[in-house]
């Protein structure tokens, strides 16, 4: 079962509810003449969505474990095929559904290891060494807690990449989109007619020489864009500076990443970056007055904001203030945006009491969703002042 140290009652509870419901409705399904297969599909869909939501920890099925085992083997094979020695892979898939390339059926990704919070490159290395890469194809890692400002990159496909800079300087790109095919390195596979999804893989590859600077971020975006019958595929591997002489094909995302870093990348990587339609680095949320197709957003970081904003015209005086203000609370906003959860508690009340402006709540049998996570309680007592 889950490898969590605490006994979290939520997964067990949910699991038991699912089982109960499925068993109870089996009869209903049969009465209606609906196949058992559909019932199983319902169960699978239900469980998958729960896992996607990441509201529950350590919620996985045996099927999931089997998939991980399978993925583990493949990961090992792939790993050998790629870099030698200490190539370590850390895949940070989005916190959403991940589709295995083996089948077109969406499978869920969370692994028991998912609860490991990456705070440290050492941990990353450790996890990789222990086969984390395997689980990584199906794993959902929590965001490193040492993460400082996050930037969102909007790719040309309209997906939002979250570029995260961890405290140690390593950078991850997290793609929170669904239907992402996560692949190991150097597997330029095409999905025949099946679910097509862009793949982005972040690989943290500390240098073989054991350089302290962990800037090796290998990004392998594999974009399979299905337009009519045409399938484009770009499999590119980019490696950050520090390992000279490696593959240098960089996609725009990476280039943006580099620019966001302050132009740490060497010349060659930047050449190819301009080919593709520009990406947006959107930091301050919705309501921008500047057009979305420009690189202007990004240039904010280069302190050219005033010029750009003036270009957009004085639609409002607010326009000029936006970039100024937006820098102030970047992390706060994005935290909220990221979670985007209205924290809700759904429960029953035993007694609600008020004295002047002092309220006391006696609640029971509740399900809470706080900061994106689910909790339950049989009793809750609260105090608040109005």
């Amino acid at each position: 079962m889950a490898s969590s140290a605490n006994s979290n009652p939520v997964p067990k509870l949910y699991r038991s509810v699912i089982e109960d419901v499925i068993n109870e409705v089996r009869e209903l399904f049969l009465d209606e003449g609906v196949d058992e297969q559909v019932l199983m599909e319902l169960k699978t869909l239900w469980e998958n969505k729960l896992m996607q939501s990441k509201a529950v920890e350590g919620f996985h099925t045996e099927e999931q474990a089997a998939l991980q085992a399978a993925a583990h083997q493949q990961a090992q094979q792939a790993q050998q095929a790629t870099q030698q020695a200490q190539a370590q892979q850390v895949l940070l898939p989005p916190q959403q559904q991940v589709t295995s390339w083996q089948s077109t059926r969406p499978t869920v990704t969370s692994a028991p290891q998912q609860q490991v919070i990456v705070q440290d490159p050492k941990i990353l290395q450790h996890m990789s060494a222990t086969g984390m890469s395997a689980a990584a194809t199906a794993a959902t890692l929590a965001l490193p807690t040492g993460v400082s400002p996050y930037h969102q990159l909007i790719t040309s496909q309209g997906q939002i990449l979250q570029f995260v800079r961890a405290a140690n300087g390593a950078q991850y790109i997290i793609q929170p989109q669904q239907q992402m095919v996560l692949q190991q390195q150097v597997l330029p596979q095409m999905q025949p007619g099946g679910v097509q999804a862009p793949v982005i893989q972040q690989v943290l590859a500390p240098l073989q020489g054991g350089h302290p600077q962990q800037t090796g971020v290998i990004i392998q975006p594999q974009q399979i864009v299905l337009t009519g019958n045409k399938v484009q595929q770009n499999a590119q591997v980019m490696q950050m500076p520090g390992q000279p002489g490696q593959v240098q094909q960089i996609q725009q995302q990476v280039q943006q990443v580099q620019q966001a870093q302050g132009g740490a990348a060497p010349g060659p990587p930047q050449q190819q970056a301009k080919q593709q339609p520009p990406m947006m680095l959107q930091v301050d949320g919705a309501g921008d007055t500047s057009s979305e197709d420009e690189d202007e957003e990004e240039e904010e970081y280069d302190e050219d904001e005033d010029e750009d904003k003036d270009k957009d015209g004085g639609e409002d005086g607010q326009v000029e203030e936006e970039p100024l203000n937006s820098e102030d609370d970047v992390s706060d906003e994005e935290d909220q945006e990221l979670f985007d959860t209205e924290n809700v508690v759904v429960c029953q009340y035993d007694k609600i009491h008020r004295s002047k402006n002092k309220w006391k709540f006696h609640l029971k049998d509740g399900i809470m969703n706080l900061n994106g996570r689910d909790y339950v309680f049989s009793k809750a007592i609260g105090d608040a002042e109005w």
Binding site: N6, P9, L13, Y14, S16, V17, I18, D20, V21, E24, V25, L28, F29, E32, V34, V38, E41, L42, L45, W46, K49, L50, S53, A55, V56, E342, N343, V344, V345, V346, C347, Q348, Y349, D350, I352, W359, F361, L363, K364, D365, G366, I367, M368, N369, L370, N371, R373, D374, Y375, V376, F377, S378, K379, A380, I381, G382, D383, A384, E385, W386
Partner: protein
């Protein structure tokens, strides 16, 4: 009928979405989906009542309160939820609470029809005026609860 309160939770929403997908592909009928949801209501209510045994405390400031149709809705700010094991802080939380003592709740249990028979014996007296006689009365109350 059990409270449908819990449909808007992670568990409930994922179920509804899954059912919607099946309806879209016409693998099930909307009617069947509704039945599934009703079953879910029963199951989650029972599970919460019986399988969960933990306490939570919370403290914050009350922003708004509403009591309508026997449902309390609160919005609190800067709240700390405290369990034995950990502490969760949120800036804003909405609490929706249905009546925990409502008879509606008990309808989720299956009740057999029951009947009550009340019988009172008459008392016959002769008043001085001997005007009236009391007859034996018997009352039968039969109460059926579904």
């Amino acid at each position: 009928m059990a409270y449908q309160l819990y449909r808007n939770t992670t568990l409930g929403n994922s179920l509804q979405e899954s059912l919607d997908e099946l309806i879209q592909t016409q693998q099930i009928t909307p009617q069947l989906a509704l039945q599934v949801l009703l079953q879910f209501d029963k199951a989650i209510n029972t599970a919460l009542a019986n399988r969960v045994r933990n306490r939570v405390n919370f403290k914050g400031s009350l922003n708004t309160y509403r009591f309508c149709d026997n449902v309390w809705t609160f919005v609190l700010n800067d709240v700390e939820f405290r369990e034995v094991t950990d502490l969760v802080k949120v800036d804003k939380v909405k609490i929706v609470a249905c009546d925990g003592k409502s008879r509606l709740f008990f309808f989720s249990l299956s009740l057999r029809p029951f009947s009550l028979h009340l019988q009172t014996d008459s008392v016959r007296t002769r008043s001085h005026t001997s005007l009236s006689k009391y007859k034996t009365k018997s009352m039968t109350i039969s109460h059926t609860v579904v």
